[in-house]
Symmetry: C2
């Protein structure tokens, strides 16, 4: 493998000058620079990241901590992050770990402690004080997407407003018996995505005078299609008055509800309206009314923030304030309608 000395020799300069020419740091005569660049590309020179990072302390590598890879939202986010990092010349190191457990501790105590990454993007996980302190010790920048951490930039839609809007859409259509299939942990962790959505749902019902405990029915399920399916079989299959509409905590749960309704012979939207949240790529095929967000773009945005934290000059400056919620869009399809009289 050619080293910088080979480039220098070929270009007839010192290693210092070759380095300055190639990294763009420090003064180099224009003529010299192009000569060095030509020499480098001629022999296929690429600087060793290990050697460079040993002296600069920078690795051009960003870690992504993410609880799932399978799952539409997470997959989209990851692809968005990856595209943006590649474009910026950064590597992406993946840490796919469960929200809690020994593996997560190992990632923070060993993998991230090796200081191999310049920054961490935490997707859908909250970081506690100890974890933040460990990252801070190594000067690792942090951005949250979905989850939260004290004093850390955060990319997210306003999930409470989204939950509220979903319920309001159904109220506006005239529904009064509206159920909510919330994500597991919604009640226990009110600041989680599913917790916020549930909160928004309850707010909307309360504002309409439909206090929960009265007609509203909130249960929790895994945020997957089978999760929604099983929960909907219980919700829709039991005796007594059925809700005429359901807010699903996400589109995958909504797909499960549609499937359960089909199985139970409940027609959608004739007997039941269903609204999801996310804008899953399958939503159109299922004719699902939903509130769209753009997770891939959120991933891109997280990278923009990270690069800015790392002082990359080339990043466009006017980013949306990381405190400001990202856009969402109500898309009405065939799964919601006025209730049957």
């Amino acid at each position: 493998m050619p080293a910088i000395g080979d480039v220098a020799r070929l270009a007839g300069v010192s290693k210092s000058t070759a380095s300055r020419a190639l990294t763009g740091r420090g003064y180099v005569a224009e003529e010299t620079r192009s000569r060095v660049e030509r020499a480098a590309s001629e022999i296929g020179y690429i600087a060793s990241p290990a050697a460079a990072s040993l002296v600069t302390g920078r690795t051009k590598n960003v870690g992504v901590v993410i609880p799932f890879v399978n799952g539409w939202f997470f997959g989209e986010v990851l692809e968005g992050i990856e595209r943006a990092l590649l474009a910026a010349g950064y590597d992406l190191t993946l840490y796919n770990v469960a929200p809690s457990g020994p593996e997560r501790a190992r990632v923070f105590d060993f993998f991230l402690a090796r200081a191999r990454v310049d920054a961490v993007i935490a997707v859908g996980v909250d970081l506690d004080g100890g974890e933040l302190a460990k990252l801070d010790r190594r000067d690792t920048s942090v951005v949250c997407l979905g989850g939260r951490a004290a004093g850390v930039a955060r990319i997210s839609v306003d999930d409470r407003a989204v939950g509220q809007l979903a319920a309001e859409h159904l109220l506006h259509l005239g529904h009064t018996r509206i159920a909510h299939l919330a994500g597991a942990g919604a009640a226990a962790r009110p600041l989680s995505v599913q917790g916020e959505r549930r909160h928004g749902f309850l707010d909307a019902l309360a504002a309409a005078g439909l206090a929960p405990g009265g007609r509203a029915d909130v249960s929790e399920c895994a945020m997957t299609m089978p999760g929604g399916y099983v929960a909907a079989l219980q919700l829709l299959g039991r005796p007594g008055p059925r809700p005429t509409a359901v807010v699903a905590t996400c589109d995958e749960v909504a797909f499960g509800i549609l499937r359960a309704a089909e199985r139970l012979g409940i027609s959608v939207p004739g007997d039941l309206s269903v609204i999801g949240i996310d804008g899953h790529e399958y939503a159109e095929m299922f004719g699902l009314t939903t509130i769209e967000q753009d997770p891939a773009d959120q991933g891109r945005l997280a990278v923009d923030v990270v690069l800015r934290l790392l002082g990359e000059a080339s990043v466009p400056d006017p980013l949306p304030d990381s405190g400001a919620p990202l856009p969402t869009r109500l898309v009405v399809r065939a799964s919601t309608a006025r209730p049957a009289r």
Copy 2:
């Protein structure tokens, strides 16, 4: 950050001895080793990977080249790879690039050329000679999962046998008008996963005396649920005799077929049998007959092979021969039955 010199001082030994004690290479008195280890953990020392790799040439980092992250098979594989690498103390660097295009070239010419990874696992992509040569120049080990590359270890099920088995299941039930929704590119690239499955399907029909061009109907679609949905609407909606059974190139396409059948009022399995391939986590919920494989385990296996190529002694030796196809399993559910007479 503590450096190895700090550990050495605290333990009262030289840096050389500290290094030998910590890496386990070379002779160190047992008593010395434990003293060094205690000193290291006391001050929270972790060796700088940049410095270590500069001298050893090893990075403890594996690159994964993968065309999609979203998509059940790929997500499962990626999670399986990640778990196994973390357990071995390796980082995973993600290169999520389209099968062709400038980004792919950039990954091989720039990112992988930086020699930041010890090995590459190529998932669902074929590597050409030029790409292999580039990796070889940097002494990067390679393993293929799904895709192929000349002279490279390969982890895969026998996709031809799988396609054949799927068709045989339907033949065995008594179907004679059997269609196949193949994955895009199946005919053009016969060695691709979708190409092999198509080949197996045609073999089975030919063996049963049902030559294609006669009754068999093979069309291609994107290997996604909407892909299967759109193609199935065409296949099942057009006038003329309908097939009584369909082999889907993967479960996601099968789900799309089920959805299309529902929309067209075609009952499954009464009027139409559908079999998928993969063992998608949603297959049970959809009552889909399928041929299961275990992509997460394939990911784990790919890591085992990689670690062995890298000479990691701790890897269990008796791995399945990488040439031998991996196990699959026919799981019969409610979506297939005898044809109506």
